[in-house]
Symmetry: C2
Subunit: 346 residues, 2 copies
């Protein structure tokens, strides 16, 4: 049977003082006499007393914790370096501020309810938009939150890149390199996401692709442009590559909305003796570290993932500390990174 740790009352009794005095000893030492203070500290050491943070935080009406609402189950989240880097950025700021970071699972479709069962001072979310129930719910519960890669509405902070411009840049590069038969691998959306009238990141990026294609007189619905939907796993990327070589052999370039998928593609293609970029060019999105490790190195769009997390966390702490509503809509820079996985043809 586990023992109970010493409480403030235990210590107060041991010292023959009130619990007020104990509390002052730990938080306002100047308010009590030196001898009493010394006695309390000595007895505290003897009895292993450390103020219970749960009681303390409850009393202070804070949690000293912010939450990160996972955009998907743990597997998808933790196998995607882009997301783990975002978490790293958040975590670094939390460490600085002496807060802890709680990971909150996505709770499938009824996110709304379950979020309330966890207690945090604020929340960082990814990929949600203003139409989702959770936005309204969080506001109703007065839970401050900031959103990365999403559009939670005018009055709620968000951190994004210019996804349309970024995907335009990527597709333009592909087109400039002469590719005209292109497989696009989009990020699969849930039925829930699809039901939104609001444009998802996938749709925005598609529109960026479209803009570039249009400049070359090509429509998104052109028979030479094929769009696939895939989850964001290595294996999913391998899978879509398999499909592409089976059904769409004339494609010269595979444009992926995520490096993870792109790397999955490359891995599958190389395993099946295709040469990259000779047989297929492949480009990605995010510039995760692995994109410099695969052979060939991946042409991709860099976005500052750690910084995204850091800024999101800082913004959230502003919200929490100032106790007021900030409406920052930050657009971080992106950059096309040209490497070796995109071949110039014709």
């Amino acid at each position: 049977m586990r023992q109970k740790r010493t409480t403030i009352i235990d210590l107060a009794k041991a010292c023959n003082v009130s619990k007020t005095t104990i509390s002052f000893a730990f938080n306002n030492p100047e308010r009590i006499g030196k001898e009493t203070y010394d006695l309390i500290m000595q007895k505290a050491k003897e009895l292993d007393y450390i103020p219970n943070p749960a009681g303390r935080n409850f009393s202070l009406k804070r949690k000293q914790t912010i939450g990160f609402l996972l955009p998907q189950q743990f597997e998808g989240t933790f196998s995607n370096p882009y997301i783990t880097q975002v978490i790293q950025g958040i975590g670094d700021i939390c460490t600085e501020k002496d807060y802890t970071l709680t990971l909150i699972p996505p709770f499938n479709d009824n996110m709304n309810d379950a979020v309330y069962k966890v207690s945090v001072d604020g929340l960082i979310t990814m990929g949600i938009n203003v139409e989702m129930d959770i936005v309204e719910s969080l506001k109703r519960m007065f839970i401050p939150f900031v959103t990365i890669d999403g559009h939670p509405g005018e009055d709620t902070p968000s951190i994004n890149i210019d996804n349309k411009a970024a995907s335009y840049d990527l597709m333009k590069e592909v087109l400039e390199n002469g590719h005209r038969n292109i497989a696009i691998v989009a990020l699969k959306e849930s039925e829930y996401e699809k039901s939104m009238r609001f444009e998802s990141t996938t749709q925005i990026r598609l529109s960026g692709f479209e803009k570039a294609l249009n400049e070359y007189g090509i429509s998104l619905s052109d028979p030479n442009i094929n769009i696939y939907d895939e989850e964001c796993f290595i294996e999913a990327g391998m899978n879509v590559a398999k499909q592409i070589v089976k059904t769409n052999k004339d494609a010269t370039c595979i444009v992926c909305m995520s490096d993870v998928i792109a790397i999955g593609c490359i891995t599958y293609l190389k395993q099946n003796s295709y040469k990259i970029p000779q047989d297929f060019s492949v480009v990605g999105f995010d510039n995760i570290k692995t994109s410099t490790i695969v052979t060939p190195n991946l042409t991709t769009i860099m976005q500052a993932s750690i910084e995204k997390g850091e800024i999101a966390a800082k913004t959230l702490f502003d919200l929490i500390d100032k106790n007021e509503i900030a409406t920052i809509h930050k657009i971080l820079p992106h950059r096309l990174i040209k490497r070796d996985s995109l071949k110039k043809i014709n």
Copy 2:
């Protein structure tokens, strides 16, 4: 100014009942009359009342949260897929049990103090051993914990692989392939770790290497065996490879205690026009996903990282639920995975 959310008292007043009744309505509906119940639920909806989890958990003397004590700063943790997979495993079990997972930064050298400022029902730690102060501290505070990759003492659960056997297997494979001039890249230990009399994972693995070497009549201190210490980053791996080609050109194989380092080595070597495994063989440890993505694929020791996290979490929940001390010392299987980064020579 942020509003306050509705409390149980607010709702009680609105319904003209006591807060006991409200509490029963949410937790023991059968104890109150149907009409009262309906009224409460209706008013609760009107006023957006949801029981405050902080108050609830405090009252129930639980936190509904377990902590993961990061083995190093966020950067090192989140750039190492082995660790993120462990976290994934822990997270999956937390999700099942409706707990959340809190990431606790390592607090540098005075881990002991800071751990108490976070409130969790239990803790999962990595790489600590029985001599570290934190073990004693956690016990004194009656915080249940289980340790992954460490030896926290007889009476505290641990999850490990047989590191000596695993490293023996790895080195034996290297030797069987004819390598005799070997660079070993060990995981760098802090001064604090070095001060322990207890063997660290690094030292245990070194002893496994030694055993294999001895079978070939080679001592660890042989001039052809060179040991390097490195942090566990890609860049650190690149760095050590640079050192090795500069000062130890005769080495034919680089044996790394982590895939991350091995991949860093390969990346550097390839960037500098060395051929792997023709110029250098490289082997790693952990079997992270990227080890199948680099070219050549990495020969390594597989250990079930996700499963480690899962088992650790399950064990911890047993401790928490049963409220008693379990002393499970689990040794999970490992496996040598032969791939293409190790060349047979002579």
